[in-house]
Symmetry: C2
DNA sequence: TACATACGTGCAATATAACGTCCAAACTCT
DNA sequence: AGAGTTTGGACGTTATATTGCACGTATGTA
């Protein structure tokens, strides 16, 4: 993510090698200088979208084939090592486990609500859908003035483009996993 | 195409306005300076992919929603105004009518073969498919040592990742439309 | 009117993308 | 082995992306 452009470099180099093209030949096909191509491949510079466009066009590639991320087979995220976002005086804590990324258009949080906590969430943009999987405690969610009671092991799915409220009316802590999906209109 | 980055600017501005965001707020969400955002929106500068990444992530957008081209409703391409690519001493002429573009992953040519012309085409990369629609004359195409006779109003479809030969053995000119599709593996 | 706030843009400084030229290593050919 | 060719990378220069600061305009408020 912070080293995002290295992906593109690797993709270009792989495709170039698959086609047995030299940097010179690729430069000729794309109209991008050999030096620049080499630097992009080695991750030494991040191209502007105009040069990326030239590369994609010259090599007859789609954008997605260039920006596609290399995914490690296995990744483990330790919640203890994730800095939570604190709200409601620490009663409402959000742990971003899988941050958003333009390719996979969703993000995953773990959310904790202390007993008595009521959190009012801003409406998201249109097309956003939330999936709430309750792990512990009983969660109350208000959407469209309607109250939904979500028991442990139950899941609530709703369009989050309107204001909604999370509430823990029990005396036990509430822990839930939240997946937010952003549909690019 | 040459003014490609203006598209992205328009897309960002449109989305930002839809969400009632100021440049300041957008800068805060994306980590890209307000000035830069303004320049990108106005087409005054072409962002690098790292800043585009920041914008897409901060605004929870996909890449495709940012790079999507504005398509005019109607476009007319006059073959007379298209510079053909000349080969075989002018006996083989290729008119690029619709150039390749990374979004729509194909290109369209009009091809003319004078009588007696034989053109040997380089193999394309794997995954490339050709669609040949013969308009005038009778075209012979050799693929995998197999000769195919394509009469007027007939269409030949074949995977073009191997050498192939176009031949006009008749005494009438051959004109055909060719669509080449590149599947981004 | 005067003041305040929010918004978009202009300007100067800096970082870096993009280019042309040159160079060293590897690979052909006799 | 030696000359020529191809390859990828290094260096210096130019173009431009990116930033922070400041300015002008609009809108609302007392």
């Amino acid at each position: 993510m912070e080293e995002f452009h290295t992906n593109i470099g690797e993709n270009i180099k792989r495709i170039r090698k698959e086609r047995n093209l030299s940097l010179d030949k690729t430069s000729e096909l794309t109209g991008v200088s050999k030096t620049m191509l080499g630097q992009i491949e080695r991750g030494k510079s991040a191209p502007t979208i105009t040069t990326l466009w030239k590369i994609a066009s010259g090599l007859r590639l789609s954008f997605s084939s260039l920006v596609s991320q290399y995914k490690p087979n296995v990744t483990i995220v330790k919640k203890k090592e994730v800095n939570p976002i604190i709200e409601n005086n620490g009663q409402y804590r959000v742990y971003p486990l899988v941050p958003y990324n333009p390719e996979q258009q969703f993000e995953i949080f773990s959310v904790t609500l202390e007993p008595g906590c009521e959190h009012i969430a801003e409406p998201h943009t249109t097309g956003v859908e939330e999936f709430i999987l309750v792990n512990e405690g009983t969660l109350e969610v208000v959407v469209n003035e309607q109250v939904y009671i979500v028991e442990p092991e139950d899941t609530l799915i709703f369009k989050a483009d309107r204001p909604h409220i999370y509430r823990n009316n029990g005396d036990h802590i509430v822990k839930c996993s939240v997946v937010i999906h952003y549909s690019s209109q």
